[in-house]
């Protein structure tokens, strides 16, 4: 533990270097802004800024991306509470009690409580990360390719089944993502796979193009001429945001419980922030002695999910950084960005690049402090930005997407790929397929296949290696359990009169 603390101090030194700090601030600001604006989530933003990451050094690059991630969590609450506009699905829960609070004139209080809950939860998450990661790294040293395959399998399955909507469709999308990752030249044999005869595709699909298409362009296609925004109620002054002691006391335990939920789920690969916030809300409501207040402006209904979301955001980094297994699509994207810089997150990275690992952890704290400081005066600015009409926002966003995607490989064709994925994404959305598992599959595919190959090579084609090796067996068992649970749920739903989950 003493060792970890020393490393942490070292990390602070890295994070506070002016150059790194500057990019961290940039990321945090952009993330916060993105969180407030509907449509562009951390996924799209990180994709758009990938070109910058390609150019600057790895340390500031990853600090920036992380800043975007947790910055957007802060911003998302603002739109949800003030305007009943959840910029991103996890914040949909915050609307339920946040918006009624605004209508009662207590929007400022809700925001203040949110900020407190967020900072607290993030801090807890960071502490967990500090102590858990080195342990995980040590455990991971003994992993062989079969074990890694098994872990990835669990991660992919978890991501597929716990995302919104039908788990079957989630798995289908994961497979689709894996296939997109296959497209290109096979490293081992040099065969061009699924390149549709286009030489431009020999280098594979570009990560930014895929994500910007699926989450940016597809979103435009779905939203154009269809958005409705209610800009009233958005006047908030700084003084409003200081909650009374009674209110703080009211929010205290929900905050703790929410943090617990977020931390527990953050560590599990594959669970998204949406599920986490919903669970926190549902749990809080069931725990409450006066559940009827929920949905009408209960502070607990805001504190708990927001705490959960922020705790989860921080803890999310653990499996990604220490094992190289991303916990959700945004982590997958960040992982992809690191790979792009020639780094391989996982056990080696902590040893080979302690500056990145510990600098990152230290930057979380700095970033969270910054967010609290920044959001207080900047609330007015964010709210005004929300008033920019969508009909100006999306063409601008499309333009930035086009430039951003082009600049990653200096290839205009990538922009066409983006458009193609935009159409694909829109179709999938219309058919009610979840899109996030695609990113997970796409990023993990290029690692899954070689590991599988290696595992089979080592075992001479013997599949039982997945049950004989203890680690692999454990994860395979967990995956099987997951599938079983899903089948059970499906079976129960087929019976008439099956209970619907209370909300």
């Amino acid at each position: 533990m003493h060792d970890s603390l020393m490393q942490l101090v070292y990390g602070f030194g890295i994070a506070l270097e002016p150059h790194n700090l500057m990019w961290c601030v940039f990321g945090v600001l952009v993330g916060n802004l993105i969180g407030v604006l509907p449509g562009m989530g951390p996924l799209s933003t990180i994709s758009m800024l990938l070109p910058i990451v390609a150019v600057i050094a790895p340390v500031p690059g990853i600090l920036m991306l992380a800043g975007i991630f947790y910055g957007s969590q802060y911003g998302g609450a603002i739109g949800a509470i003030l305007l009943n506009l959840p910029s991103h699905p996890p914040h949909a829960v915050t609307c339920l009690d946040g918006y009624p609070l605004t209508l009662q004139g207590r929007g400022g209080t809700a925001l203040g409580i949110t900020m407190m809950a967020s900072f607290f939860a993030a801090s807890v998450g960071i502490v967990v990360m500090i102590f858990l990661s080195p342990l995980l790294v040590k455990a991971a040293d003994s992993f062989g390719p079969a074990d890694i395959c098994a872990i990835m399998l669990l991660g992919l399955l978890a991501g597929a089944t716990m995302a919104r909507g039908s788990p079957l469709k989630g798995v289908a999308m994961t497979v689709f993502g894996l296939l997109c990752g296959v497209a290109g030249t096979d490293e081992i044999s040099g065969t061009a796979r699924y390149t549709l005869g286009l030489s431009e595709l020999r280098d594979g699909v570009e990560l930014g193009g895929l994500t910007m298409g699926l989450f940016g362009i597809a979103d435009f296609l779905v939203s154009v001429n269809r958005t409705t925004v209610n800009p009233a109620n958005a006047r908030v002054s700084m003084r409003d945001m200081r909650p009374t002691w009674a209110e703080i006391r009211q929010a205290f335990w929900p905050m703790l419980r929410g943090t617990g939920v977020g931390t527990a789920f953050g560590a599990l690969p594959g669970t998204g922030p949406t599920i986490t916030t919903f669970l926190a809300y549902a749990l809080e409501r069931r725990w409450s002695k006066s559940p009827e207040r929920f949905g009408k402006g209960a502070l607990e209904g805001v504190a708990a999910p927001e705490a959960a979301s922020h705790a989860k955001t921080q803890v999310d980094f653990i499996p990604t950084m220490s094992l190289g297994i991303p916990g959700d699509p945004v982590m997958a994207l960040i992982l992809g960005a690191l790979v792009m810089k020639g780094l391989q997150p996982g056990p080696q990275m902590v040893a080979d690049h302690p500056d990145i690992f510990w600098g990152l952890i230290a930057s979380f704290w700095i970033g969270n402090v910054l967010l609290v400081i920044l959001n207080v005066p900047l609330i007015g600015v964010w709210v005004r930005m929300l008033r920019v009409p969508y009909r100006f926002l999306y063409p601008a966003a499309l333009f930035f997407i086009a430039v951003g995607v082009y600049s990653t490989r200096n290839n205009l064709f990538d922009v066409a790929i983006t458009a193609a994925f935009g159409v694909v994404g829109a179709i999938l959305l219309a058919l009610e397929f979840p899109l996030s598992p695609i990113v997970l599959g796409f990023v993990l595919g290029p690692q899954l296949e070689p590991n599988f190959r290696r595992a089979m090579l080592l075992s001479r084609g013997d599949l039982s290696v997945f049950v004989t090796r203890p680690v692999a067996c454990g994860f395979v068992a967990a995956s099987a359990l997951l599938v079983l649970l899903q089948l059970l749920a499906w079976w129960r739903r087929r019976r008439p009169g099956a209970p619907t989950s209370a909300r």
Partner: protein, 159 residues
């Protein structure tokens, strides 16, 4: 489209794509477990996709109605008809315009055209407001991307 029909379409789509993937993948040489060819992994994935497609088609007729216990629609803030040909054509067109004009015209025409076309997709935009937006963003883009970030796309190309 009610959900049942959506799942029918979705299942059929998965089935079709899955089969296509398997057929193409087999052409790359499947090999054995011990010595996996280029086609092994893709065929595996394609087969999986096909199976899921079948399962989806199967359940589409049976499981009544909705998965309504899932998260509220993230698209709850949207209203109006789903089909938006004007918007769709303009958005996709804008992206393609960027590609074509970027190749043959340069950053400036590509920027202007893409923003303009995209903006025209929204019924709330007039030709003038779209043009103004496009002009403004082109100027901003040139400053930020060309002079600021040294984007490699030339401002103007004659070809």
């Amino acid at each position: 489209m009610n959900k049942m029909t959506k799942d029918h379409v979705g299942g059929a789509l998965l089935l079709a794509v899955g089969i296509a993937v398997v057929v193409a993948g087999a052409g790359y040489g499947v090999g054995t477990l011990r010595q996996m060819g280029s086609g092994f992994f893709p065929v595996l994935l394609g087969a999986l996709l096909t199976l899921i497609g079948v399962a989806l088609l199967f359940s589409a007729g049976r499981v009544p109605g909705s998965d309504a216990d899932e998260a509220p629609a993230e698209m709850a803030h949207l209203a109006g008809p789903v089909v938006q040909w004007r918007g769709w054509l303009c958005i996709v067109g804008a992206a393609l315009a960027f590609v074509v004009l970027g190749e043959h015209g340069g950053l400036v025409p590509a920027s202007f055209a893409s923003v303009f076309i995209a903006a025209m997709g929204d019924r709330g935009n007039t030709v003038r407001s779209a043009a103004a937006l496009a002009a403004g963003l082109t100027v901003a883009g040139v400053i930020v991307f060309h002079y600021g970030l040294h984007l490699l796309l030339p401002l103007f190309t004659w070809s």
